[in-house]
């Protein structure tokens, strides 16, 4: 292991995270407590699930802007299936996840069959899926879910928030798949050079189709967790979450042009953002001031990483 391989983006980012944790725990003694950190894990699960799927998509050189709208649509459908159609809640939640997965499949079909660039395709479905959520719900919210349902979003298993287990499981599986399987390498191959990947006999279209479908699935899964956490469904849920997820992925070292990016990087990026949000709010900085800082961190981190890379290759 050489020095070069140690100065990877993830290593730098992890150091930045440790630094942030140290500084923030000096700012407030309520920050570095187990209860607080676990609660922060609870809050970042929805963005996290979406960001993990987004890592794969960005690694292929694509993007999915419709994730927030799929979240909103799946949330609304949970309420509609349960409250309006009278399905048992577990069935309703699964059906809503199926709707979200289909929405993702729709993205994939538009992108692979019609060769519409992902940015445009998902920009269109961002409007379409959010519009469906608004139209179906007519801006009415559904409340009053049974108590057991809140275990997913508000409860704990073995002392850890339930949804954090979900996020951990997805993160571990995703990082193994992306790093160690033939299929994961295909993702990078597509992102580095799609034409070459196609000529090497890799199933480019099938891989992409699967990725956008998976992105729909994780968005819908995030929706059910979201509903369980905040005890209500509204059609505007998840608005803007695509930008949070993309920020985490890019901060985590993925190249927006494809070919680079790891699940570990994304998870560290997520933690850094969440730590900043929470730590600064405990230190008395307003939420909006924190948003500003996250924007600055994003730009500076990429700038620094660019400088390191260039000095490294020369």
């Amino acid at each position: 292991m050489t020095l070069r391989s140690l100065i990877r983006h993830e290593t730098l980012l992890a150091l930045l995270l440790v630094l942030a944790l140290v500084v923030l725990s000096f700012q407030s003694d309520r920050f570095f407590t187990v209860a607080n950190l676990l609660n922060q894990g609870r809050l970042m699960t929805e963005t996290g699930l979406i960001a993990i799927a987004m890592t794969f998509i960005i690694a292929t050189g694509g993007i999915d802007l419709s994730v927030g709208s799929i979240l909103g649509l799946a949330a609304i459908m949970t309420g509609v299936f349960w409250h309006n159609l009278g399905l048992p809640l577990p069935v309703a939640a699964l059906a809503a996840i199926a709707v979200g997965t289909l929405a993702g499949l729709g993205n994939g079909l538009i992108i692979t069959r019609f060769r519409v660039p992902p940015l445009i395709a998902t920009l269109a479905t961002l409007a379409l899926y959010r519009g469906l959520a608004e139209g179906i719900s007519q801006a009415r919210s559904v409340r009053g879910y049974p108590d057991w349902f809140y275990v997913l979003g508000q409860g704990e298993v073995l002392g850890v928030p339930t949804q954090l287990w979900v996020l951990l499981t997805v993160a571990v599986i995703a990082s193994i798949v992306l790093a160690y399987t033939r299929w994961g390498r295909t993702v990078y191959a597509i992102g580095s050079n799609e034409v070459a990947a196609r000529f090497s006999g890799l199933s480019v279209e099938k891989t992409k189709l699967l990725l956008y479908t998976a992105s729909g699935f994780t968005s819908a899964l995030a929706a059910v967790i979201f509903v369980s956490r905040v005890s209500t469904t509204r059609s505007d849920m998840g608005t803007g979450i695509e930008l949070d997820a993309i920020t985490a992925v890019v901060l985590g070292g993925a190249s927006i042009f494809g070919g680079r990016g790891t699940v570990l990087g994304t998870v560290i990026g997520l933690c850094l953002i969440q730590a900043l949000k929470n730590g600064l709010s405990l230190a008395g900085v307003t939420g909006d001031g924190t948003i500003m800082l996250i924007g600055a961190v994003l730009i500076l981190a990429i700038l620094a990483s660019n400088l390191f890379e260039r000095s490294g290759t020369r």
Binding site: V116, A127, L128, L132, E134, Q138, V250, L293, G295
Partner: protein, 332 residues
Amino acid sequence: MAMTGVELPPVRPRTSARPSTLRRLMADYGQEIVVFAAILALFVVVTMVNPRFISANNLTSIFSGNAYIAVAAIGMSMVIVTGNIDVSVGALIGVLATISGTLAVAGYPVWVAWFVPVLVGMAINGVIGILVAYGRIPSIVVTLGALSILRGGLISITGGTWISNLPPEFLIAQKRFFDIPFPLIAMVVLTLLAALWMRYFPYGRSLYALGGNPEAAVASGIPAERRVVAVFVIHGFFAGLATILFATQLQVIQSTVPSNLELTIITASVIGGVSIMGGSGTVIGSTLAAILFATIGSALIFVNVSAYWLRAVIGLLILATVLADMLRRGRA
């Protein structure tokens, strides 16, 4: 060969040496014609259902209501033509509108309240351009960061309050010249000027060169970095002009970021035929697309569809337009 997925276009026998005018128009302005046809079709159908759709009042609101989106989409189209993108323009317009309103209420002359934001917009986008061109950070990343900074900064300074008591002479978007609403005049004039500049001036053409093939553009002597900074500054200029129309249309300004404005503006550019890959598209298309959105919004009201379906219909229409464009290109 079939296994590789590469398809050769069918050889088409040439009937004449020069392509017909119609075919040339379709090749140059295909997407613009599609959007224009969509607007016409909507007008015909909705007017048959409800003739009041083409009343003077409604036409005025359709053609001037989205003028600020069309003007902002001019700059956005230029940015996209060079192969970049800006997701922070909605936040920028929110910030500039707040500056504009604050200056107007503080008693500065109205032209100061109108044009200081234009300069600020150019300066902020200049910084973004420098980070993209010289910092070599992809524009989507820089503007994603800028979006957070502008949005967070605006709310933490103003708290999202309403600015009221705007002086009447400040509200230029409500004025009419020769009985034509000012936003409509501004939209048409700015669109035509920008379209001519991009089509016939070397500087304008160089934007297409840069987006179409950056290496070839640099090899032919176009200073890529300086052009990218310039195009962001020009985009800031149009965002500033859009702000004048946006901030002066009502009696009050809310000092927050208008939600989803950046996506509406990007969508207008893209639906208007600006290729997200860079190198092609015109501002005439993006302006037509902005008018199309306003037409859809108004049409829904006139055929009595709940406003909550508006976004779904716009989404479907965007999708239909994009797919039609893909099919058309597949055949061309």
